[in-house]
Symmetry: C2
Subunit: 490 residues, 2 copies
Amino acid sequence: MAWFRNLRQLSPTTIPPPLKSTTPSFTFLLSHFSSQPMEVPPPGLSPTVPGQKPRVVVLGSGWGGCRLMKGLDTTIYDVVCVSPRNHMVFTPLLASTCVGTLEFRSVAEPIVRIQPAISREPGSYFFLANCTGINPEEHSVQCETVTDGLNTLEPRRFKISYDKLIIALGSQPLTFGIHGVKEHAFFLREVSHAQEIRRKLLLNLMLSDVPGISVQEKRRLLHCVVVGGGPTGVEFSGELYDFIIKDVSQRYAHVKDCIQVTLIEANEILSSFDARLQRYATNQLTKSGVQIVRGIVKDVKPQTIFLKDGSEIPYGLLVWSTGVGPSPFVNSLEVPKSPGGRIGIDEWLRVPSAEDVFAIGDCSGFLESTGKQILPALAQVAERQGKYLAALLNKVGKEGGARAGSAKDLDLGEPFVYKHLGSMATIGRYKALVDLRQSKAAKGLSMAGFVSWFVWRSAYLTRVISWRNRLYVAVNWATTFIFGRDISRI
Amino acid sequence: MAWFRNLRQLSPTTIPPPLKSTTPSFTFLLSHFSSQPMEVPPPGLSPTVPGQKPRVVVLGSGWGGCRLMKGLDTTIYDVVCVSPRNHMVFTPLLASTCVGTLEFRSVAEPIVRIQPAISREPGSYFFLANCTGINPEEHSVQCETVTDGLNTLEPRRFKISYDKLIIALGSQPLTFGIHGVKEHAFFLREVSHAQEIRRKLLLNLMLSDVPGISVQEKRRLLHCVVVGGGPTGVEFSGELYDFIIKDVSQRYAHVKDCIQVTLIEANEILSSFDARLQRYATNQLTKSGVQIVRGIVKDVKPQTIFLKDGSEIPYGLLVWSTGVGPSPFVNSLEVPKSPGGRIGIDEWLRVPSAEDVFAIGDCSGFLESTGKQILPALAQVAERQGKYLAALLNKVGKEGGARAGSAKDLDLGEPFVYKHLGSMATIGRYKALVDLRQSKAAKGLSMAGFVSWFVWRSAYLTRVISWRNRLYVAVNWATTFIFGRDISRI
């Protein structure tokens, strides 16, 4: 039992009672616990020393963080990622998963597939954890593991020292302090959200068929309300409408006349698009049967939305997509902020007050002192910043500035410049909008219709990160076309 | 507002306050609630009358119930299915979904795809509900809707009158009254179980990599224990082993030496198979590194299993598959039972004490008076019974015995005879067992190895019900082979 006593001494945690038995099965079992080579707990993530690679710590696993990790030169750096999810979500296709056009897994990309060094290199890690604090003086972050389900460990706290820290924590949905939104509405930002929306939608479809339900109650259950007319809200409405037309009418023929989609928006829908495309989208959605309601939500109760103008809207499913803002953790960080409360950064994406700390994506914004505009909270901004920063860190690393505190006098080269590539949104019925202008005022190509839809699908298919998921997205689209959407509620 | 007042009178349920507003958006919204044709609540499922088709009510959506529904002649009968899940699970492939070899949706088949009349025919329904009582005198069943998540309705009770009732409620896992099993172990019977196992496995893999975890705790977290050496337990162990060898070693290289699979069985593993195949499986699994422990579980605590011989086994994941027995609802039915507590049936699968009531699958067993052996709780038994009973009901229907109480004097034809087609089980590493003997004592082909594995895969691929899922299973297998298993924890 020497191995076991050693462990008792090594381990700082509470240890369950030792294995004890006198039967053959015990030695058999014990063989597992002792046959492996002795190990000491991982050396921990104390500051790196010569002989170790400098450590880049990435907080978050969204578009920004993942693009950065993908681009990092892992012969220079070790990569440590801290995130409550072990995959990146291909957000532009998330709306399609709610109705079964795509499978959930087709839009999720495991982080170790994006940067394989994380599982291969001895000094690179992925931790399923949340960051709970940053200490820029000490060059370290505090983290706490995520737990759920049966028999998990107590949340475990640990500290990671960094040479470079990248804050890529994203944003969270804005509710504008409206009462009841968090309790009763679904957001559409994570795969788990899409799964919940799907379960709810299918549950309502089935419940509405139960004998004795009044027509009014049936209509309420089958009234899908989307608040927010940005690309997410519009794409979700379009997908829902496709689902209703093609699948509900076949699979839920009893209730097909009672289902309805309503999109509530305070201003114009798709405000970032060309006015002509906005009109096209409005017309198409309305023609499809999606009701577009101009209004401001005042209050949300379990089965009814109250608008400022006094109207009451009964609903069965409520999806909330009115934009995003900084998370409480970002709010709590004591660093200079950009207008809008994001982490303030300079032209090289650095957090000026904290050496070796960078911020990218939705959680960051240019400081007023840079004279630059705050960039929109878009996947393409975060991705471009991640790509830029990976190149910057690789350059710094090659020039000997990879260690903590050693990049002060280096020339960082060209600052980050964002060039908008355009916007796309699908509106259902094999139609989409493509707006390739660099800004609202600029000139350039903008188009709408089937060709745009084809461009939209092709563009996203090539943007999906791994070949595996590219294959799955293509297979999903093909089977949806041939067999219809899957409606099993699992 | 005439439509609304009418609804108030028609509807027996509590009605939320009426829509009220004076703004344009109101009229717009109202148009949805009033533009559809007036409907009264569904006529309810009172006894069928001439002019309506006779009604077959099926309780359950497993192998038996689904095969029956598939075979029913829907020009003769209306079909009503009552089940808490709207899909059938292709159980033999469920173990593969836990480790990502197959996707969850590839093994789930929506019921309306199995019997499309359910969504098409005005008198056919699927209800997402549990049966709470059977009244054979009145020829009716009581049901209660399933609810979950946010804002669902209160469970709603309703009654369905039947002309023929088929009880196909399946079974539930046996825990032998062992304390802690229900709280701490996972079963492997539904897609949701496989999802939970997968989440837990991936969580443990990631938690075990957190700095400061003792080696002992790491080994505990990564110790996967399977209790029960039947086909499910063995297949799950084999799949887990494949996952460890091929994927964990690549994707979780840091912890790959700490993961271990143990299979606990009180007797021989795969006791229904040929002795030679049993030995082969034992050797192969042991060679793979799966520990097979002979022992009887006495108690299950959150992180430790206690065996009768006094040994204690720390675990991180516990899967329980020690066989199945009747559910509490089946136990509560006051009908003559077969040995083992199943619903007693005669040679034509009738419940003799209740006219027009049949029982098939795991929940039923031949009455002692028939002199027939109780059939094993296998998918192929349930499926064969479903097929037989569909043909019997179609014959009865054609001969004028479809209505409640009208089949008394009809000749039912040949009684049900079960012919065992053989058993198959995969044991990982491209190896499987195929035992084509009709019983343990009979002679016949039995084989093991790669060819068997190929037979196993081909056989199941052809058995998967829809072309859609057949395609997905094939694509899943191909991508697993090429890209490895998916490890995103969604």
